[in-house]
């Protein structure tokens, strides 16, 4: 049987070792590229004669603190967004309130055109400046793609699978946990990855309302006209965004249920 050999060939792709090899091939380029960029920036800054201002702004612990603030903001946002949008998406796909889902999707489309800086300033006017306002802004801004993807991800699961699950006596909860969510994982994770990138980006604006992050380096660089500070901040921000996005890609490859293409 010719299809048998074909099936066997597919099976070898599924064996763990080659799965890892496939992942290495797919995901090795970005870290290498980022390492080169970081090294290049480091060498460039070291070779430059730094004045006092630059030296103070580029102290290692200051850079680390800015990165730390940025990562903290992003990580907290991601956790909150997954909780809110995941829960909301599950609710909005239950038969009883499914009719509400188009509103969430419509909102997500408007959200795409909303300037993040505008939302941040508006929130600061009502909530004051600082860390928590930034966090609220980040969550509000990045919750919509995850919500949308959760809804789409669950709704794209073949209705016949759900019927089959119910037909063999699975409870609605079991159908959700064992069929709908696992099969929606790739789409949901794509949304989370988008949210992650949006959060890193908007977090660069946190500096405008005194909430720190890597944006402060860029602002300092622009204000004091110090190219080294500006470029270091921008490179670190870009590297962080690409790294997190890369991580998101690796994770979604790992969590992807087997049996899907």
């Amino acid at each position: 049987m010719s299809s048998a050999t074909q099936i066997r060939a597919e099976e070898t792709i599924l064996t763990p070792a080659s799965r890892w090899r496939g992942m290495l091939g797919r995901h090795a380029t970005m870290p290498a590229l980022l390492a080169v960029v970081l090294l290049g920036t480091y060498l460039w800054v070291s070779a430059t004669d730094l004045d006092d201002i630059e030296q103070r702004a580029l102290e290692a612990n200051k850079l680390l603190r800015a990165v730390g603030e940025h990562v903290t903001l992003t990580a907290l946002t991601t956790v909150l967004v997954v909780a809110i949008a995941g829960g909301g998406g599950i609710l909005l796909t239950r038969p009883s309130i499914r009719w509400l889902a188009p509103f969430a999707t419509g909102l997500a489309n408007i959200g795409q055109a909303t300037p993040a800086i505008g939302l941040l300033v508006l929130l600061s006017i009502f909530l004051g400046i600082g860390f928590s306002t930034t966090l609220i802004c980040l969550v509000a801004y990045s919750v919509l793609p995850v919500l949308q993807n959760t809804i789409v991800g669950i709704n794209q699961v073949d209705r016949h699978l759900i019927e089959a699950g119910r037909g063999i006596g699975m409870s609605p909860l079991a159908v959700l946990l064992r069929i709908e969510l696992p099969l929606a994982v790739p789409v949901i994770l794509a949304g989370v990855r988008t949210a992650l990138v949006l959060a890193v980006g908007v977090a660069t604006l946190a500096t405008f309302i005194n909430a720190g992050g890597l944006g402060s380096l860029i602002v300092t660089g622009i204000k004091l006209q110090r190219e080294t500070i500006l470029v270091t901040g921008a490179v670190l921000t870009a590297t962080l965004a690409l790294t997190l996005d890369w991580l998101g890609g690796v994770i979604s490859d790992l969590l992807r249920p087997r049996g899907l293409d």
């Binding site: 300037p115 600061s124 006017i125 980006g201 977090a203 660089g221 470029v231 901040g233 890609g249």
Partner: protein, 242 residues
């Protein structure tokens, strides 16, 4: 001062800023369309080149706008230029990806027929392939426009034009009389402008695809076929995967 009074008193400035905002967005989208379609034409038959092009455009979209602006100030200085370049880079991915999708989805029989009646490669592209892919390309253009509208606001900080100035003025006056009015007019202005331009583009789409089913009233549905919902927002999900 109420919001309406504010609008009234700054009417001319606001109109000018709105126009500037629309202009720089449309300019960058136009640039991105030319570049994106050219890259797509150049790569869409070669899976490897296609993957590299898409991955690079996706990586650009992943870089935070403020960081990209910062990187561009270094060579270009403050002002109009870094904003224009940054917006063009952001607008590239949706257009590039949709053009590739649009071109690859054309029935091979049609291009073969074009060749069969003696059309040159260029003529086949301009009279058959690009017109057929146009609805999908236009969808990409609409997504890019929506996206860059919001990003353009940040450009005001590095001397770019547009409604972002209202927002940053509001930020500078935080606690002052007009702070809320400024932030509100900047933010809402961008959203309204985005929706208006999107509607105009949808209209353009309807006018430029005579004979095909109009989808003016369902812009969201129209967006689906080319950009799956997972990627309807600036999405990194295609980076390095294809």
């Amino acid at each position: 001062m109420t919001f309406l009074e504010y609008l009234q008193s700054r009417r001319e400035l606001l109109l000018a800023q709105t126009l500037e905002h629309a202009t720089i967005v449309l300019m960058s989208v136009a640039l991105a369309t030319v570049i994106g379609v050219l890259i797509a034409l150049w790569t869409y038959r070669n899976p490897r080149a296609r993957a590299v092009a898409t991955a690079m455009a996706a990586a650009m979209l992943t870089i935070p706008s403020f960081a990209l602006l910062g990187l561009l100030i270094a060579p270009l200085g403050l002002g109009y230029a870094p904003t224009l370049v940054a917006l063009t880079m952001y607008a590239l991915l949706p257009i590039l990806r949709n053009t590739i999708v649009g071109l690859s989805e054309i029935d091979p029989a049609l291009t073969e027929a074009a060749r069969g009646i003696g059309m040159s490669r260029i003529r086949s592209l301009t009279t058959v392939e690009i017109p057929l892919a146009w609805p999908v390309i236009l969808t990409g253009i609409r997504v890019s426009t929506q996206m860059t509208m919001g990003i353009a606001a940040v450009g005001a900080y590095v001397g770019g034009p547009g409604l972002g100035h209202q927002i940053f003025d509001g930020l500078a006056n935080l606690g002052g009389v007009n702070s809320l009015n400024q932030a509100l007019v900047g933010t809402v202005g961008v959203i309204v402008l985005a929706l208006t331009v999107d509607f105009a583009l949808a209209l353009l789409g309807k006018l430029t695809q005579a004979g095909q089913r109009p989808n003016l009233l369902r812009p969201r549905l129209a967006r689906r076929p080319a950009l799956t919902p997972t990627t309807a927002v600036p999405s990194p999900s295609l980076g390095g995967r294809e």
